[in-house]
Point group: C2
Chain length 633, copies 2
């Protein structure tokens, strides 16, 4: 059962597809109050209650014991003391004797104190007075998820080839480099379906342009790669370079499509291309306009995109930069005291993604200028909606791969997400794992993290272990940053180990794809916490290093360095499979605690008694898979 409570005049975020009769917020059944323009409510937490949700967010599957904030943030340091990542997924489930789902449909900040200040209380602060809150009542957390998911609409399904292995880097600078990647994989006999084009494929970082010096005759090049079975996936950034004569910018400016300053002039911020205008994606005519620009690339044969920098990330504004430079200039020749020194240092450190800049941006909603602060969390989702609406109109469903960095619930209907600019940290294997069921609860099925880690240098064993989790994530992409150690599988020693891992992915694609479609069609989850399936088993309830996969299996990746195995808990008897290329090692295990050996070239998988997992032969491309010739684990 879903109950809706409305306060004020909520902005339509597009999250819900079902309509509910809203009751007035005065009838909201939880302890609550309005207070200084904010709405606060609280719910007590039983000693053993688990709080699920928040989709792409830091920390655990059980969100208890921390304060989270819904605020799409471009912050690459995904450490434990952060409160936000790139998304705002305002859905939680408080699961005690019964399960209560709470979805707050509100595009500005929300603070979730989930047993941090007081371990037995979940206190939520909505930073505004115009919102809808949905309470979803159910017997189990899964029933709450399913009812919620039915209300927000079916999840995006990408093309089949999007389940292949994908290689990315910031950046493969030109066609030759891309060719080198494909060659590297082909020579090492490691399967590959996609190569990504990060920002450097563009002409001066201008959206919907291709630098002819780097990629001459791009359409031909795309076709040539397609003939090799490879899809090229270019990045699209939110900001449009301010440059006279650049068609997209000129059009956007002429039509008044960019976000404004308070005085109605165009807001200008500095991002990769230098100064840009930010399209006001919240307007349907702007979405139509921007979405149709993707045609410039689809016309060249491109059939996949990733949308980036759409929180939006703002490196600086002229105003913010001037203020910092002025502060520095005014201190020239002064004998600074420590306070002045730190002030100055902070002025420069805080110049990017600054609250002042966000507060200076205005959107045109129903003819009125609305401050960005009020709608921040749907900006990125609206960009992706622009593209998604265009793709469905133009090509139909399941034709174009697309995923986004920033997101809000609702975007799950037209795109996937990736979990942003993580690090080559062993701890980020588990962070990736923990976000999978949380994202699924919020409708995001096509998702994954940068395998091997984006920032920082990776060791070969880290990449292998990360990939062994990635074998199961719908988006299986290895991506790394400028200046880091090459992270392509063939760049490391013992490439056979990498082949063994990636081949396992290809063997499982028929199973994973079917599981994915089913989860989308039935509003179900691909990955579930063990506590969903074994709610009375105390060890299963608190396990956050393993996940249930579909109805058949359990995954438990190795997430520590220099180990030859890991602890695993079996809530029921299962068969442990160590999959490596076409090799299969298996052992029946009883319910209970085990330590299982897992070599660097093995993918661990646990299959329930009486269940079978179909596998096919590996191939170098998804298009070469024989999905008819199946055997069973």
């Amino acid at each position: 059962m879903i109950k809706k409570y409305t306060s004020g005049s909520p902005i339509n975020t597009g999250a819900m597809i079902k309509e509910f009769q809203g009751e007035d917020i005065s009838r909201f059944p939880l302890v609550s109050r309005f207070d200084g323009g904010k709405f606060r409510f609280a719910q007590s937490l039983g000693k053993n209650a688990i709080v699920y949700g928040l989709g792409e967010a830091p920390r655990g599957i059980n969100k208890r014991g921390w304060v989270y904030e819904s605020f799409c943030s471009d912050d690459p340091f995904h450490t434990e003391t952060k409160s936000s990542l790139y998304a705002a997924h305002n859905f939680i489930i408080i699961s005690g004797n019964e399960s209560l789902g709470i979805f707050i449909d509100f595009p500005a900040r929300i603070r979730w104190d989930i047993g941090y200040t007081s371990s037995d209380t979940c206190s939520v602060t909505v930073d505004g007075e115009d919102f809808d809150i949905y309470l979803i009542y159910g017997d189990t957390p899964l029933s709450v998820v399913k009812e919620f998911r039915a209300a927000i609409g079916q999840s995006y399904i990408p093309p089949f080839w999007a389940f292949g292995y994908q290689q990315s880097r910031w950046s493969y600078p030109d066609a030759r480099a891309v060719d080198g990647v494909i060659e590297g994989y082909d020579n090492a006999q490691i399967p590959l379906d996609c190569v990504y084009l990060d920002i450097d494929y563009m002409e001066s970082y201008k959206d919907f342009t291709v630098d002819e010096n780097k990629f001459p005759n791009f359409a031909d090049y795309v076709a040539e790669k397609r003939a090799q079975g490879i899809h090229l996936i270019p990045i699209i950034d939110a900001g449009v370079k301010k440059e006279d004569g650049y068609e997209v910018y000129d059009e956007g400016r002429k039509k008044g499509y960019f976000c404004k300053n308070a005085d109605g002039t165009d807001f200008e911020g500095g991002v990769w291309p230098g100064i840009v205008g930010f399209p006001d994606f919240l307007r349907s005519e702007v979405r139509d306009w921007f979405g149709s620009k993707y045609r410039l690339l689809t016309n060249m044969g491109i059939d996949g995109f990733w949308n980036d920098m759409n929180e939006p990330a703002i490196f600086y504004s002229a105003k913010g930069l001037d203020a910092a430079i002025d502060k520095a200039s005014s201190l020239k020749g002064e004998n600074l005291d420590l306070g002045q020194f730190f002030d100055l240092k902070d002025a420069f450190a805080g110049i990017s993604n600054s609250p002042d800049d966000y507060s200076s941006i205005y959107h045109l909603i129903d003819g009125k200028l609305v401050c960005h602060d009020r709608v921040h969390n749907i900006y990125g989702a609206s960009m992706t909606k622009a593209a998604g609406e265009f793709f469905e109109r133009e090509f139909g469903k399941e034709k174009i791969l697309m995923f986004s960095r920033a997101s809000y619930i609702g975007a799950h209907r037209t795109s996937g997400i990736w979990f942003g600019d993580n690090h080559s940290w062993w701890s980020h294997i588990l962070l990736n794992l923990k976000m999978l069921p949380s994202a699924n609860m919020c409708g995001f099925l096509y998702c994954g993290a940068d395998l091997g880690g984006f920032n920082g240098n990776a060791s070969a064993d880290l990449v292998l272990r990360f990939l062994a989790l990635g074998v199961f994530t719908p988006l299986m992409r290895n991506h790394s940053a400028l200046g880091t150690r090459p992270q392509e599988c063939y760049s490391f020693e013992n490439t056979g180990d990498f082949r063994d891992i990636v081949q396992v992915r290809y063997r499982l694609i028929p199973y994973l794809y079917r599981l994915f479609r089913k989860a989308s069609e039935e509003n179900d989850m691909i990955f579930r916490p063990l506590s969903f399936d074994y709610p009375t088993d105390p060890i299963a309830r608190e396990c956050e290093t393993q996940l249930m996969l579909g109805d058949e299996a359990m995954i438990a990746p190795v997430y520590e360095q220099n180990v030859g195995g890991r602890y695993v808990y079996l809530p029921e008897p299962m068969t442990f499979y160590a999959l490596s290329g076409e090799k299969v090692r298996s052992e029946k295990l009883d319910k209970g605690v085990h330590y299982v050996p897992v070599a660097l070239n093995e993918v661990p998988l646990f299959v329930k008694e009486g269940k079978q997992i179909p596998v096919c032969k590996p191939a170098m491309r998804t298009s070469l898979l024989n999905t008819e010739e199946i055997e069973f684990l």
Copy 2:
């Protein structure tokens, strides 16, 4: 057997107390070469070889799979991709069929590529041509440790009361705040022995001063606290405030005791007090002078110190700050491109602890100016030596508590260390655990991390779990930073849980103190990796979440949030004790893998068959412990 190889004219670091006849480096038996002023050598690593060592350093007990650097660094973000912490402990053990210890006695940078570039090779680069390398051959890693430890001399033993529980914060601003802490603990009936005074007790951050407004009649106040059984532990920073009329500075300047610029004038850097002079601790007359200044505080009854900022940390130099401000000024009114913007941002971000500043500092060694770059890693250790030499001369051994942030092997003879400015991250419980045996190998026995985490906000359960590890660390100190959530045990709900944990520490002090003394006297380790004791047990060999404690026991703290227990591996049958205040819950467990329940107010401890752990009754102070009345677990 220890073999010494000498290259050039090494600087005497004071690390070794035994003299060895050095052979010429040309006879060095490992594959090696000189190359551009550096010395490089390599040793192959067997598939299952473990590399131990590096003392206070990032990542695991087994250092394989990463690149480390010996370079004392003031960097509070102890993430996995860092290469250094605050110390330079140049000792590793390559443990395969035999064990090879390598100690590089060299005070400048060393790069340790331990199976990162190539998983089967340990490649070491010494950034200079004047060094000693010691090779220590042994049958087992422990025999290598013991031989090395005998060569570097007996470890520092603090006073007995230093095993009590200690509370710190940056900062308790005045006597009233300190009184509040003691009252808070006493009211909650949680034992306490020490309260720390961070930088704000001083007058304008001037070493060896006490702000009379905050602590009137300090000597009386210290005596009053001592009468309550509480020791006050003030911080001493490396830099001496530049202020005419401040005796320490005036003296230091007049006598030429501060580090120099290349032109022989005093180097000036900005730290907490603003501009400071850095005493040239490498000179014995400067150590004598600075060491004797501690008398200003010992005369007031102080008997414990912590030395900080002695890497040295330098927030800025006039030169570095001017350069950044000049860069900013020159860009005023310019339309910056992205390169210029990031350059400018980086100029301010990189102003602290900058390589340029370190290269501008000179020390007087044997009458010649030597660039700081050549001796960086013994600066902090030399500061601590200054104090330690004074204390031993003045008071004898075991009278004064002292530990330091920066360190080098050799400093272990006169002081302890703490592991620096960590974070309130769950992952830092394990980082703390992993550094314990590594520090022990290098002679540092009195050590510990900031329990609960220094930077960032802590939840109550994190502090409890962190403390439950801290129960076993010689230094058991809770410390947190300015602006973070209060982290004193009484600041949280359910203070009884905290009492239960801290009381367990007091019950174990007779055992822990005896274990500590014995380890110091016998050049032994308090904490050992399981692989030391069970080298042929594959699960024990790779276990990095448990430690052997003395010859009797094993520890295995809980290090995840929202769990009621943890996996533990028993390499032999043991009794599992859950200790909570005076309550003891126990269960005999077989060899193998178990999941043991551990409540938030319990300390897990595993005792071998046939072994006993003595415990006394808890008390509110170490001075109130009845160490005669013992029972046995």
